[in-house]
Symmetry: none
């Protein structure tokens, strides 16, 4: 993904991220919300993007690429399945924007709106982009290489198993009213151990 963004585009992308952090549904965002927050004129957005959907889908993809790219880079140095899972969960705890971005991204991938269609197209046409699916795959590779998890299980199933935990943890945090008082460290451990029980090597379990 191109790194040298024009300052205006950077401002627009930043504004989209800010809105996401404030829990605004990107499907309902107005162009003037974005440009206003970016501190630029409304017309300027249209100098860089042909319409609202292009702008939002680009911003979302950019951030997803940044977030997942960073995580994948950090994880690449890890040799342990648990460590990488813990790292991902910790990122979502620390940086709310990552969690919210992930949620909106996955939601958009499964609805049928105009932004969704653009996202799918862009992902299809640019295999370089880092998206959660790739991150999940990487974590699985680590686990398999290391022998933490059982490579015999079908890949689609393993993808679901890992992705669902990560996503559901994100959802869970937004839904629980008492999330603040909730012991996240413990939940991380439980989720990770659960995944290992689920995906772990069969022989390991009998050891």
């Amino acid at each position: 993904m191109k790194e040298n963004l024009s300052p205006k585009v950077k401002a627009l992308y930043g504004a989209v991220l800010e809105l996401i952090e404030e829990n605004v549904d990107v499907r309902n965002v107005k162009v003037s919300d974005i440009t206003g927050r970016a501190g630029i004129g409304k017309g300027t957005a249209y100098e860089y993007f042909s319409n609202k959907e292009e702008l939002i889908s680009s911003a979302l993809l950019y951030h997803m690429d940044q977030i997942c790219g960073q995580m994948m880079s950090d994880i690449s140095g890890m040799e342990d399945f648990s460590e990488s899972i813990h790292y991902i969960l910790m990122c979502m705890d620390r940086e709310i924007s990552k969690r919210d971005c992930l949620i909106q991204f996955i939601q958009l991938l499964t609805d049928n709106g105009p932004i969704s269609k653009l996202l799918h197209d862009k992902i299809k046409n640019n295999s370089e982009i880092c998206i959660p699916q790739k991150l999940t795959e990487q974590v699985l590779q680590i686990g398999i290489r290391r022998g933490d998890i059982d490579g015999q299980l079908p890949l689609p199933y393993m993808r679901i198993a890992v992705m669902s935990k990560i996503l559901m943890y994100a959802f869970y945090m937004t839904m629980e009213e008492d999330a603040a008082g909730f012991d996240r460290q413990q939940m991380h451990r439980l989720l990770c151990e659960g995944m290992l029980r689920e995906l772990g090597r069969t022989d390991a379990k009998n050891m």
Copy 2:
């Protein structure tokens, strides 16, 4: 939930369900889409609901209640954790509307839009309504009662474990391009076995 709906309300609720089955995002639905499909006048919707959000959230909650209520009733006769999980997954395969309803419902619970707020309020003020969380809880109860799963694990964790699998399976089916050629029976089995490995009794695993 009140059972004796006026025929107009029934028509409106039915129209919302139809739209959901056609993969339309309820956040983008127009009042005229709903009333048109329901075969009634646009103004009539406002005789029964104060605004669009009230209409949509009521419809969604009604269907969720119906779907989950039906499932909970069917499951109540089952004594086995696996059987109930298989039943739920099968329902989502057979009746696309259930799957899509579930997805939209969960998405709405986690976004911050006007429909979301109404949904939360209504759920809070009417503990009778059957929602996916309740269904999950019931499945867990069965598993615990039966001894299929280990009751020692914390409830929030178990809820995530079960709910996330079901939801991710739903997402997965909508996202995968090759979903058609995808062996669902096998995936059901894998998911169910995975959950048992994850949540199952520790001693059971060594048996």
Copy 3:
């Protein structure tokens, strides 16, 4: 052309005609100009027309049909070429709106804008509509039947000969600054006699 227009459509068409009479170029007219003058809400225009161009082209065609239809009906009772030409010129003198409508209509037929394209399509798909070309044809028929003009000349040429005089007279009236003081009766006579000299029976000229 359908006669029973809804009152709102009638108001919209009337407003377009008023604007034309005020010498406003229909290509630059705003929807709010039209609805404001029609005394109805802006949104109402979109209940009847899918966009601005549809509205304007429909209005123009409607008026052209009315004007030409009326003229053709009045002329049908005439047996003389001169009489019908005089009648047409007189109409343009008396009712400025007819003249201006004619001018805008012909201009639109020859530009390449969005309204022009719609006009051409509509004319092609509805051969019932009365347009200046039809009126010209009718006048020629009268002249030929009566023997005032020479039927041997090619039709395209005769069409140009008649149409150009009518249109140019209309242009002329808008362009001449001193048009007010100008003796129109005399000009009518000259134009008519000129046409007869141009198109008249060859043998007649030698009589």
Copy 4:
């Protein structure tokens, strides 16, 4: 009309002509269309013209002056009315841009838009500019001097007679779908003969 145009202005005028040749209505042209085609920066247009209307009206007048000036110069050597008419019609056939420029020019003179007002002002304030009206006048002078046409008829009428034929021929060519297969040579002859019958010396006709 000043001959030594700055290269930028020349480029702008050329761009306007190109657009006219492509049948674009100058009233709908964007500044960026013109500057883009001229290969210069958008801001540069405002170094030479105070606004879009100034630019377009100047360009149009420049080209009209060039075209009519050239024609008037060529015609000045001719001694025959027919020859000059044939020459004008032939120019419109050969150089579409001349025909289209003429049409747009006449249309602009009769609408009431901002460009129209500027055109009228400039023509009024600079009697040197060659415009179609002058060309028509010259052709008439030749005809009268030569004795081809009857000088007794009022000048306004004769202007209409000549101008309208030329203009209508231009219109006709753009409007007729089958213009391609249409025998232009024959039409030229018919139009010219028609004008002579219409305007020619009464005594000549009996010769």
